[in-house]
Structure formats: C-alpha cells, structure tokens
C-alpha cells in the first residue's frame, strides 16, 4: 500500500532535518529578539506621545506592534525589509495604507477588459460525461462520475430569486488519470424553502470553449437581471477569466482573459464590481455594466497591490503578507483589534463589523465601529468557549439572527457539534455534520450547511432543513454555497 502524503512529508522533513549538522543559533535569535523588542518599545512610546499630542481619540486602539503573523515589510510600503529594522507600528501601517489609496486606474481597466462572445450554454442542463468529451471520459475511467441533477431552472424560478437564495457549487475533482485541473463542476439554485434547481454546467461551458481543465473560482448573480458572472481559471494559465452569462438565453461573454490574480467580484445592484490584484503589480477596480460590455472606474478606488473582499457596505483590503484593513465610510481602519492575531468577521451592518477573535481558550466578540474606526469588545455578543476542534483547528462561527452559530465539528465526517448562542441561551441544533457557509450580507437570517448529509439551511428558528438530500449528491463531490444578490458598496 502506498504512503499517505502526510507520512511521506513528515518522514521527508525528519530525514532532511537529520541531514543538517547546523548548530541551533539560540543566542543569536534571543539577542535579535531583544534588540527588536527594545526598538519597538521606543517607537511605540514616540508614536503614543505624538498621537496624544494631537488629541486623536482612537490612539490607544491603534498603537502597538503589528501582531499579524503575516506582517512583513514589503518594498511597496516603503518599510525596510531588514530583519533588524523596527517593525512599523499599527498606526504607521494604517497611515501608509491610507497613503496608498488611489483613484482606480481607467487605463488599467481598459487594458484588462476586452469582451468577446463565448459559446452558449444550455441553462438548466447538466451534461453527462460522454457529452463533455474524451478527456472527461478518460478521467472518469471505470468510475461513475455522476453529476448533480435536479429539475432544470425555469424563467418562473428565476423570477422568484431573492437574497435568501443561494448558488450551490458542486464539484468533483477528476484526478484519476493525473490531470489536476480537470473537474466536473455544475451550479444549482437553492432556496431556504427547500427548492433546488440545476442552473448551469460550468464544465460544459469550458469544454465548449475549448478550455478542458478550466476550474471554478467564484461567481456573483444579478437576480433581477437574470445574469451571472463566473470567475474561472483556464487550463492552469496565469490569472483568472471572467465570463458573463445571460441566464434567460444561455449566451455568454468572455469579459477578460488578462493575467490577473485572485479576483473578487460582487453584484452591487447597479453593476458588477470587480477587484483584481497583480495586474501586474496593482489592483484593478472597475464597475462593469449589467451586460458586462462596458465599464467605468469613475469614483472607484484601489489600494496599491492589495486584494479586496467585499462585504455589505464595507470591504476588507488585504495586502498579502502585510495586514488587513477595513474600508468603510471613505476611510481605512485596522482589520483586527489591538493585540488580537486571529479574528474572523462574521457580521457587517451599516454601523459596525462584528469579529470573533480566537485564542486557545475562547473566541471573544469585538466590534469595529465604522464611524470612528475604533475597535471595542462587544458585550452584546456571547463569548465562545471550547474553540479548538479535534483537528486542532479553530471551530467555525457564523452570525445567525441575534446570536452566533458555532460548529465544533472538525470536518464533514465527524459527529455534529452545532450550537446556537442567542438571548443568553446556548441550544443544540440537530443537523448533519458539515461546514457552515454564511453570507457577507448584513442581517444573517440563514446559515447554510454542506456535508455528507447534503445541503441544508438553518434559520432563525434554530431548525435545520435539508434542501438537497445527501443521497442525491454524486459520490466524491464537494459543495460550496454562494449567496446571491446585491452587496452595498462601501
């Protein structure tokens, strides 16, 4: 029997370590830490005095060391990369980030977008493997390669879409013959009332476009205009491409094939907001028209070579390996509270962001007040205990109604561990084991769950309802859930 990958890697690391005769530089490491801590203390004191002198009320929450493990000193921020140089304070990082905010570059957007017609796709149809071509047949081999087939979506169903619906992304990775890029991916629509319909066969489109091996990255839906924007990676090529789909006719437009990385897109109610990083070293930000054939950058912003993740009325601006910031009300604010190194946002309203910050013993709620940029503990939300799951990772938390849903299951195959803390009471939620999917939209009335038990939804009554039964799901497939509808612009 072959090795497990984990065993092989661990054995390899151990063997490699054994081959090194290097003496551990204990003294040198300790000395360098001492120097840096001393420099940091002086720097923080200086910044504290300066900030207090100008009377900025948010000083105490902004000062301190950059505590994110990924924080480094990239040349783009103008901070010395030398390990012996002082780490910029949180306040310094914030000021540098603000200085990087610029008006979106129209020329960059013009260079990135070049809409051309793509092949049509049959809305509501999920193809069998034989229809997709020889590559898929060969990859499936003797396996069944079943697809997720549901009743096809109709115009009547599309007219019923609202923000409570989701897209279920069903994917099987076909690695049987060694093509890591080949996958079977289809999209379905699901409502919390229990309706589910086949929407689109992504693999059929990529096969028709001659891009066998293209992989799914993301999507957004205009529920009123009956349109969808897909983000794909073609054949392992650098960057992603955007594909606009008319859900009434199945006609498609390939909006861009520019080599841009890790984009994020959303439907704003007026158009498709697109952020891409690394084009080649800056972000591209644009608002594409509903038909994706024109775009504007007027009034839009971007920040250096950051990545942007939109929420409802706010956005996370992330410099890879530097720091995260929130963008709201025309300003950037610290992404995490002072002194917290691992926080997850779970709810965003027009006035505040609610994040849970983890330690090994608990997860505590903090609120970022968007008017002031000040973080503070949130006394209205419960603190979560027992936050380490059986895999050693942190548990999942999601906003649900006026409370917090906690998933202590380590993975989809473990025993369920769902609890809902609300109104001072913690109640167990009966549901199959799975993974939580929550919406970046304000007001979380549902949390979706995917796992071996199928795809279901938990409402503010604390009851789980199965929408796509586990027996319906193809063997070996994975599901992701994507909320649809508009996210307000920050």
């Amino acid at each position: 029997m072959s090795d497990s990958l984990r065993d092989r890697l661990e054995r390899g690391e151990s063997a490699t370590a054994g081959g090194f005769s290097v003496e551990p530089p204990v003294g040198a490491v300790v000395a360098r830490v001492r120097r840096r801590r001393a420099v940091r203390t002086v720097a923080l004191a200086a910044v504290s005095v300066a900030v207090l002198a100008i009377g900025v009320g948010v000083a105490s929450s902004l000062l301190g060391d950059a505590n994110d493990p990924a924080i480094v000193n990239p040349p783009s921020l103008g901070v010395s990369p030398s390990p012996s140089a002082p780490i910029p304070s949180r306040a310094q990082l914030l000021e540098q980030a603000r200085a990087q905010m610029v008006t979106a570059d129209a020329a960059a957007a013009d260079a990135a977008f070049d809409p051309v017609p793509g092949p049509s796709v049959t809305i509501g149809k999920v193809s069998n493997v034989e229809e997709l071509g020889a590559d898929y047949v060969a990859a499936c081999g003797a396996g069944p390669c079943d697809r997720l087939t549901l009743p096809p979506v109709t115009s009547e169903v599309l007219n019923r879409l609202d923000d409570s619906w989701v897209v279920v992304v069903d994917t099987q990775y076909l690695n049987a013959v060694g093509d890591p890029g080949l996958e079977l991916t289809s999209l379905a629509l699901a409502s919390p009332d229990g309706d589910a319909y086949s929407l689109l066969d992504v693999s059929a489109w990529t096969a028709a476009a001659g891009m066998t091996g293209a992989t799914y990255y993301g999507l957004a839906i205009d529920p009123e205009g009956h349109a969808l924007m897909l983000e794909l990676n073609a054949d392992g090529a650098p960057g992603q491409l955007l594909v606009w789909v008319d859900l009434d006719t199945g006609s498609t437009t390939v909006v861009t094939r520019a080599p841009m990385d890790s984009g994020s897109l959303s439907w704003t109610g007026e158009g498709w907001r697109v952020w891409f990083g690394n084009f080649p070293a800056q972000s591209v930000s644009a608002l594409l028209a509903p038909d994706a054939r024109s775009w504007t950058t007027e009034g839009l912003w971007t920040v250096g070579d950051s990545r942007v993740w939109p929420y409802d009325g706010a956005a996370i601006v992330s410099w890879p390996d530097v720091a995260n910031f929130w963008y709201a009300n025309g300003n950037l604010w610290h992404g995490d509270p002072e002194g917290q190194s691992y926080c997850n946002p779970i709810d965003v309203t027009s006035t505040r962001v609610l994040s849970y910050c983890f330690t090994d013993t608990n997860a505590a709620p903090y609120a970022l007040h968007l008017a002031t940029g000040k973080w503070s503990p949130d006394p209205d939300s419960p603190t979560i205990s027992e936050v380490i799951n059986s895999n050693g990772g942190y548990v999942e938390v999601a906003a649900l109604g006026d409370g917090v849903l906690v998933n202590r299951s380590a993975d989809a195959s473990s025993l369920p561990g769902l609890t809902w803390s609300h109104d001072g009471v913690e109640t167990h939620v009966e549901a199959p084991a799975g993974n939580l999917w929550w919406s970046p939209r304000a007001g979380s009335h549902e949390v979706w769950l995917t796992g071996a038990g199928g795809v279901g939804v938990i409402g503010v009554d604390g009851v789980y309802r199965n929408v796509i039964g586990g027996a319906t799901l193809p063997l070996g497939s994975n599901q992701m859930v994507v909320p649809i509808g508009a996210l307000a612009e920050p």
Binding site: D3, G19, P69, A70
Partner: protein, 178 residues
C-alpha cells in the same frame, strides 16, 4: 527572565533543524531556509503574544515561515528574480544541499507553484486548518482548498502517495472571503 525567552530558547534549541527542514522543502535552498527560520523566530518572539508551550510557538513559527516564503516569492517577482524561484528543480540544484535525504520529495515539492507548496506545507507539515492556512497566506479559503488539492494530486503523481479522505474532500467554510 522575560516570559518569551524560555520558550524561544527551547524552540530554537530543540526544533531548529526541523524548522529548517520544513523551510527547505519550501525554498530548496539551505541558506535561504535558515534565513527564513531565523527571521520567523525573531518576528514571532518580538510580538506581544505569549506562548504557553514550544508546540504552540512552533505552529506559529511555521505559519510565519510559510507567509514569509510567499512574501519572498512576491518580492523576488517584483525584483525580476522570478527565474530562480520558478525554475524547474534541476535548474536550482546548485542551491540545494549537496546530499538530500529525500531528493524525490524535495524535487516534487520544488515543482509545485510557490503558493501551492506553501499551502501543502501548512496543511500537512504544520497541521494548520484551512482557515488558519488562508489567514497565514492571506488567501481565500476556497483558494487554499484549490491549491491544496492541486498540490496533493501533483505530489501523488510524483511520489505515488495517497491522500487521506478528509484531505481531498474537505469543503471549506466560506468565511466571507469567497
């Protein structure tokens, strides 16, 4: 003595070689791996957070190593040093240690794209969750899932290894970074 110092000393003394080996599987350059580890150790213990054990600190250091590795790749790309980082394994042999204990594994890891390599290392050698890996590398959890899958498949092809079920069928929480 400062509260951080005993943990820093113990971790460096007891786990330095393992950390360099871990970094070496990312960099495949002995000197660069040592720089990466020392830098990660210094950064880790400069921060205010306290570690209650060397294991806890080691997990954190491994995250910093992966993060710094990716940052180094990005920086090198910005400085037009893409060739060295992205070069096929045989072209960077001169940077390798003379005798590799597991040359096949090192070569297979080197053949992975840097972010894929970092994701695999964090998931399999640092035992980080998808969320932690995503956080350390500032990637979306969906992207981490993709990279891990790509890495697992590529390593399986190169090494004949198998992945445990949970490693290939993991479905991540969206966590807002879709």
């Amino acid at each position: 003595m400062s509260t951080w110092q005993p943990v820093a000393e113990a971790l460096t003394r007891e786990r330095y070689r393992a950390l360099v080996a871990y970094a070496y599987l990312l960099e495949r350059d002995r000197a660069a791996a040592e720089d990466l580890v020392q830098d990660a150790l210094v950064r880790t213990f400069t921060r205010s957070a306290r570690f209650e054990s060397t294991a806890q600190a080691e997990a954190y250091v491994r995250r910093v190593i992966a993060s710094r590795f990716i940052d180094g790749v990005c920086a090198s790309q910005r400085r037009s040093r893409r060739e060295r980082v992205a070069a096929p394994a045989e072209l960077i042999e001169s940077h390798a240690v003379p005798v590799e204990a597991d040359a096949d594994l090192a070569a297979a890891m080197a053949a992975l794209a840097p972010r894929v390599r970092a994701c695999v290392a964090l998931r399999y050698l640092a035992d980080q969750s998808l969320a932690q890996t995503a956080d350390a590398l500032h990637l979306s959890q969906g992207t981490v899932k993709r990279y891990v899958h790509e890495g697992v498949v590529a390593l399986a092809m190169a090494l004949g290894t198998r992945a445990e079920d949970d490693e290939t069928t993991d479905v991540v929480a969206q966590g807002g970074r879709s």
